[in-house]
Amino acid sequence: MLKGLTFLVLLQLCGSLISQTLLPMLPGPIIGLLLLLGWLLVRGEIGEPLTQAANGLLQYLPLLLVVPAAGILVSGEQLLGDLGAILAALLLSLLVTVPLCGWLMQAMIRRIDRARDER
């Protein structure tokens, strides 16, 4: 667990350094994610310590998100000023794109699966 966590922290640090020097538009953790994916591809297996650390952290992802989410306290006024427009825009766009993404992806998956069965 600790070995895996150490590795994840080091990868995030590498990602942050790359972000600061070369790729300012991508945040460190996302670059770290890509680095880890690359490393797993090269190595060909995940390994017990990393599995444990990843499972442990991902299980508590909702808890980790609570702290930034409470930032709603600070921007409450700006939010209330345009509340109607903001909520309508966010919710209506979700009503369209959530089913669209799922439907589009499923339709293409089925076509690929059918093509494979016919072969």
Partner: protein
């Protein structure tokens, strides 16, 4: 007991350096119990915990900057957890490679449409430019959205709120919308959750299964890259 005693106890509690961490942990435990008892998707643990935390902060007069600084040990793990998303991604790479083109098409069509629709509706309803810029990256994960919004004259914390509303609402409406549209494939459901509702959607997708979770993590990462790299280019052209 005299009132001064209780006053002192309360002050001692809310000024303790561990108060913010304890508050977050306790709020989360309560919201988990509520979620498990009711299984009601509107009561996402993130949303219920946040509401509890905000209520206590308001009642005790602690400002967000102090809470944020004292709860930093919890938020600090958000980075390594984001990196760890590569693990479920790698585990399902075979299936992902097989579906490379469908993923790319869904991402570009769905991802662009959600941003364009959001901006269009908000603009028509009279939202101002700083609010629009804070809304544009709403489907990305929080760090990316805050970064993009700040770079283009929006407000980082407002962008974080948009991200949160989108994530919670998308996740709460997701199962219902999928049932209406007849979407049953775990890969398709996962990708939709990831593209539209980022980390909150990914948490829900992981509950539905490993494959669903992997595609959600993939959708979230790719959407993050799309928003971090392509959206600034779009905004630059639009605001020129």
């Amino acid at each position: 007991m005299p009132a001064a005693f209780w006053q002192g106890l309360w002050t001692g509690l809310i000024t303790h350096p561990l108060f913010a961490v304890a508050l977050t942990l306790v709020a989360f435990q309560i919201s988990l119990v509520v979620y498990r008892r009711t299984r009601w998707l509107l009561l996402q643990p993130v949303m219920v915990s946040t509401a509890l935390v905000v209520a206590v902060l308001l009642a005790s007069g602690i400002d967000y900057a102090r809470f944020r600084a004292e709860a930093a040990p919890i938020a600090l793990l958000l980075g390594p957890a984001t990196v760890a998303l590569a693990v479920p991604l790698y585990r399902n790479l075979g299936r992902i490679r097989q579906l490379f083109w469908p993923i790319l098409v869904t991402l570009v069509v769905g991802g662009s449409l959600t941003v364009i629709l959001t901006l269009l509706i908000a603009h028509l309803l009279g939202a101002e430019l700083p609010v629009l810029v804070s809304m544009a990256p709403k489907s990305a994960t929080m760090p990316i959205a805050m970064l993009v919004a700040e770079q283009w004259g929006g407000t980082a914390s407002l962008a974080a709120v948009m991200v949160m509303i989108t994530g919670v609402a998308g996740t709460a409406m997701g199962p219902w919308l999928y049932r209406l549209a007849g979407v049953h494939s775990p890969a398709a459901r996962g990708l939709g959750y990831g593209i539209n509702a980022h980390a909150v959607g990914t948490v829900r997708a992981l509950e539905e299964g490993d494959e669903c979770g992997a595609f959600a993590a993939l959708g979230m990462s790719l959407m993050g890259i799309l928003i971090a790299v392509v959206l600034p280019l779009g905004l630059a052209l639009w605001l020129r």
